[in-house]
């Protein structure tokens, strides 16, 4: 049976982790390679790096981090943030990323998703959708970290990226992100019911129950979380043991 995946996400800015893990065993709380290794050793099913570096000049920094991490972590590595061109994807994959996540560039031009999945295979193309609720059961796609409205319906867009070859959707609720009040389960349920590709839930996790809800109520294939891991509240192992005790199948 296919297991539900637990994915810790590391926000990286100018080569340093923005929200660091509070683990005492860490030598350098800002080193993304060291943190990724801790997650991987702790049983993470995948590692996600989100590069939030504002400038283009620093792309080499994230590539270097990916290169170093890929030599030490032998679980899948997904990298997102600022992926705009085929060359960006090539650089990340050559450095050792297994998947890249495309956000704004996919919204601007869905052909980019098609082109990328044709060239590299759907298995390595994740489309990140940032959605915000606009009315009851209606969500709109936002870009630039939730600042820019696009007028595009999130459900329609999810279907469109699937048609264009996306292998997975990384779905973040902009209403919930950072609130620790749980995923937007209605949004998740709507998207997972409207598409036939795996959906990764993101945005809002504060407790272990939230992860359970994302999988069981929302229908997500994987759950992504940042702060509950970074601040040492929970280890990957705690999450998996909890979910397992509630009959959610995970890789133990």
């Amino acid at each position: 049976m296919l297991k539900n995946r637990i994915i810790p996400c590391l926000d990286v800015k100018d080569g340093r982790v923005v929200k660091g893990i509070n683990f005492v065993e860490l030598k350098d709380a800002g080193d993304p390679v060291e943190q990724a290794k801790i997650y991987s050793d702790g049983g993470a099913d995948e590692i996600c790096f989100l590069d939030i570096t504002a400038s283009n000049e620093n792309r080499e920094t994230i590539i270097d981090i990916v290169r170093k991490t890929a030599k030490e972590c032998f679980v899948p590595l997904t990298v997102g943030g600022g992926v705009r061109t085929i060359q960006n994807i090539t650089d990340l994959l050559l450095a050792g990323a297994d998947k890249v996540s495309i956000n704004t560039a996919a919204v601007k031009n869905v052909d980019f998703v098609r082109e990328a999945s044709k060239k590299f295979g759907s298995q390595c193309i994740v489309v990140a959708i940032d959605a915000k609720k606009v009315s009851v059961n209606n969500w709109e796609v936002f870009t630039h970290g939730g600042r820019n409205k696009t007028g595009i319906d999130a459900v329609e867009f999810a279907k469109k990226v699937e048609e264009n070859g996306a292998g997975e959707i990384l779905l973040t609720s902009m209403d919930k992100d950072g609130t620790k009040s749980g995923y937007d389960v209605d949004l998740l349920k709507t998207i997972t019911n409207s598409t036939n590709i795996p959906v990764i839930a993101s945005g809002g996790v504060g407790t272990l129950d939230h992860l359970y809800d994302g999988i069981v109520k929302g229908g997500a294939s994987a759950v992504l979380a940042a702060s509950i891991f970074h601040y040492g509240e929970y280890k990957i192992k705690d999450v998996k043991e909890y979910l397992n005790s509630k009959n959610v199948s995970v890789r133990l």
Binding site: M1, L2, K3, N4, R5, S40, D45, A70, K71, F74, V75, P76, L93, L94, A95, G96, A97, D98, F120, G121, S122, Q123, C124, G167, E168, N196, I197, P198, S221, A222, R251
Partner: protein
Amino acid sequence: MNVTIVDYQSGNISSVINSFTEVAKGKVNLEVTSDIKKIKSSDKIVLPGQGSFKSCVDSLNGISGLVDTLKDFAIINKKPLLGICVGLQMFADIGYEEAETKGLGWISGKVSKIDNQKGKFKLPHIGWNEIEIQKESKIFKDIKNKSHMYFVHSYEFIPEDKSVISATTDYSSKIVCSVERDNLFGTQFHPEKSDKIGLKIIDNFLRL
């Protein structure tokens, strides 16, 4: 020992290189190449494969003499070859991804899309799934039944001769996830991305 990872521009093989490099450290001389001479003089070959069946077969055929060299190596001379993901799928006679495409024909059978049972099963099959070992296999030495491996694929290899199947995994149906015949090995899952247990499989292959 010389081990060659065949680089035929089949997409992203960085992870395969990283994992084999980690396991081979100091023990094995690893080459990443499509150079026919080097492949001929290798002791073992790894045939990765990403993207579609058609694109992989086309790339392989695009390098003059490569397919014949691989066949001489693995089928005529029966030297160890490990196919990973589409690398395994290409052992088949025929594949149906993108367009009907002739495979290498090393193990009779076809590669078709996994039946998603009208949307009940999401495709691609992405993530960690348990393998059910069907027969003793040299690359599964010290690997426990029901171990978790990392998968990412939408198509499955269906061999005619079921005796080649060394493991299956459960997703919509019993999917063939590992084959072995003589010194020909293939895994549908990615040992290079399957954590320590995956590295153990790579180690088993390198120790053959």
